[in-house]
């Protein structure tokens, strides 16, 4: 049996992506949820790198793990009276619903994916580093969404700041 390196890496990262994803579902307290999510997203970053999307892998680590997760942890700290509070022991009915629905969704998607039989001969085989190419595309063909997203980030930041601001200034109204 020929076990090559890329196969091993794929399974390692796939496991790193999938197992924590399910632990997000089952974890007992909210801080653990966040850290399991971190692990899962790192796994996805690894998968990106396997597929030759080095820039994306890096972005995933920087933005997701460095940005979004920190944001989520801040959220947890500001909202939880006891962040390590464990969830009630008994399995809630809603969790069962979640598992059942998730399982059905997976069954349907897997059936579809395997049933379609995508062509996989073509595609961008190992084309080397993607950073230059991505940068060029973003500044030429995709300049429009690139610019648009900057406007989006601007108003999202201002709006979010307005909404989240403590309410003491509400008195001036």
């Amino acid at each position: 049996m020929d076990i090559n390196m890329s196969t091993v890496m794929f399974f390692a990262f796939a496991l790193l992506a999938v197992f924590p994803a399910f632990m997000v579902l089952f974890a007992k307290d909210i801080v653990r949820v966040a850290f399991w999510l971190l692990a899962s997203l790192s796994g996805v970053a690894g998968l990106y790198i396997i597929m030759g999307a080095d820039f994306l892998g890096l972005t995933q680590v920087l933005v997701y793990i460095g940005g979004i997760l920190v944001l989520i942890l801040f959220g947890i700290m500001m909202t939880s009276k006891d962040p390590l509070l464990k969830r009630a022991r008994h399995v809630e009915r809603s969790v069962v619903t979640g598992i059942v629905t998730g399982a059905l969704v997976f069954a349907a998607l897997a059936a579809v994916i395997l049933g379609i039989g995508f062509e996989s001969g073509k595609g961008r085989a190992d084309g080397g580093a993607t950073t230059t190419a991505l940068g060029e595309a973003l500044l030429t063909d995709y300049i429009l969404p690139f610019e648009v997203v900057s406007v989006l980030l601007l108003f999202v930041l201002c709006g979010a700041a307005h909404v989240a601001r403590r309410r003491k200034e509400g008195a001036h109204a």
């Binding site: 349907a108 998607l109 579809v112 049933g115 379609i116 039989g117 995508f118 073509k122 190419a133 060029e136 595309a137 500044l139 030429t140 063909d141 995709y142 300049i143 429009l144 969404p145 648009v148 997203v149 406007v151 989006l152 601007l154 108003f155 999202v156 201002c158 709006g159 979010a160 307005h162 909404v163 601001r165 309410r167 509400g170 109204a173």
Partner: protein, 512 residues
Amino acid sequence: MGNDFSQTQDLISRGLAGFIPELVLSALVCVLLLADLFIRGVKPRTTAWIATIGLVLAGATLWPRLAASGEIFGWMQGGTQQGLLVTDRFAWFFQMFCLATALATLPMALDHAAFRARRMGEYHALVVAATLGMFMMAGAVNLLIAWLGIEFASMASYLATAFDKRDRRGSEGGIKYVIYGSVASGVMLYGLSLIYGMTGSLHYGAIAQQLQVSGASDLGLMTAALLVFGGFAYKMAAFPMHFWCPDVYEGAPTPFTAYLSVASKAAGFAVFVRFIAAFTTGEGPSFVAFGSVPFDASFGWPTLIAAAAALSMTVGNLAALWQTNVKRMLAWSSVAQAGYLLMAVAVYAAGRGRPSGGDLGPLIFYFIAYFFMNLGAFHVVTVIASRTGAQHVEDFNGLGRRAPWMAFGLTVCLLSLLGVPPTGGFTGKLQLLQTAVENHLVWLAVLAGINTAISAFYYFKLIRCMYLHENQAGLVTTGTTNAVLLALLVLPVLVLGLAFSPFIELSRSFGF
């Protein structure tokens, strides 16, 4: 790729010149945000004027685009033109539509009790930003831009829904909206990724070409169609993605609810129709993928849309029967209206390839009528709510005496939503039904007729409260601006019901 930098600069300057209205709107967002930040104690009226001027300016710069057609911000690839956005009469109509909605809801926001003396600049900035997103939705010919436009408009909408920080229902509606919207967006993305995987492109034209040349798996396209439809239906507030609608409509500030129920829905339909147009050909089978199978023998877009239309109108109307909160009632009513509108899309999808089909006139005409009748209804609700705190149907008791013109305007708008002649809603519905029957969707037309009967219940409930129930409270003063706006919204409803021939011709000309 392979553009060197000078070419890029050239492209940017040439391309951006075509995007003046969008640039105006972007600038307006910044100005409004800055005004709130840096001008101490800026009055709501001032920011409202800034917003008005900006929107009018955007409209003025948008006007010349009526003549432009098919300019795509794009590139050549594999011998075909690809790109992101298109400027044609269809896009122009919906862009103008969303601008007009933003403009019309401005005075409502000024009147909204909870907004008085608040940081109105940020609210206006969010509305303008949502409009900018809808601009993209209306012109999108690329999966990325379609999705980005939807997200853009959604983000602004989430924030505007939760804008009134002291209102608990606003926050509750906001959090529901953002969770539901994110899931819808995720589901849609998954479907988009399947389409990308099957065709290898993000551009509608290239996708259609690829599907025609080499086809794709029926199963895959069916799944992708459903998942993507989920995302569009969420924007249109149609079955099965309508659940957010009542809660968000109730929670959001009423002026924004008005904006949401008109502009957001219109943009959802615009982006959806263009998507459908790419995925149905002009030659018989309407779901390209189903190759030689004629559409009525198999599952395809027309079937899916017709089913969603039937369910939307039925669910919306039935559920509205129970509603005592006026905003929730109008929310369910808007779900039902989405059903009627989807009927036009189903007819369009089914009719592509037939000589009489492929006509978007009825859809656009109904939207013109919908603009006036729905905004009119919301305008009255906003004004009355901010004066009397009315929330429920019973709070409108005796309004016929207390504010006769407002009550009359609301009555006209409700009758139009119901589809009673001589109102624009009647003419619009008449066209929808007629085209449905012509395209062999008789069952759908009959169902729509029965639905109209059901909807009479709740529309009449409100009318009856206003005129037949007594309330001893005194007169409600409404102010000149509101009266003028009311007249501007209600008179066209009647005009569209009486002298509609030119508008019908006009609306046909906006199709593609």
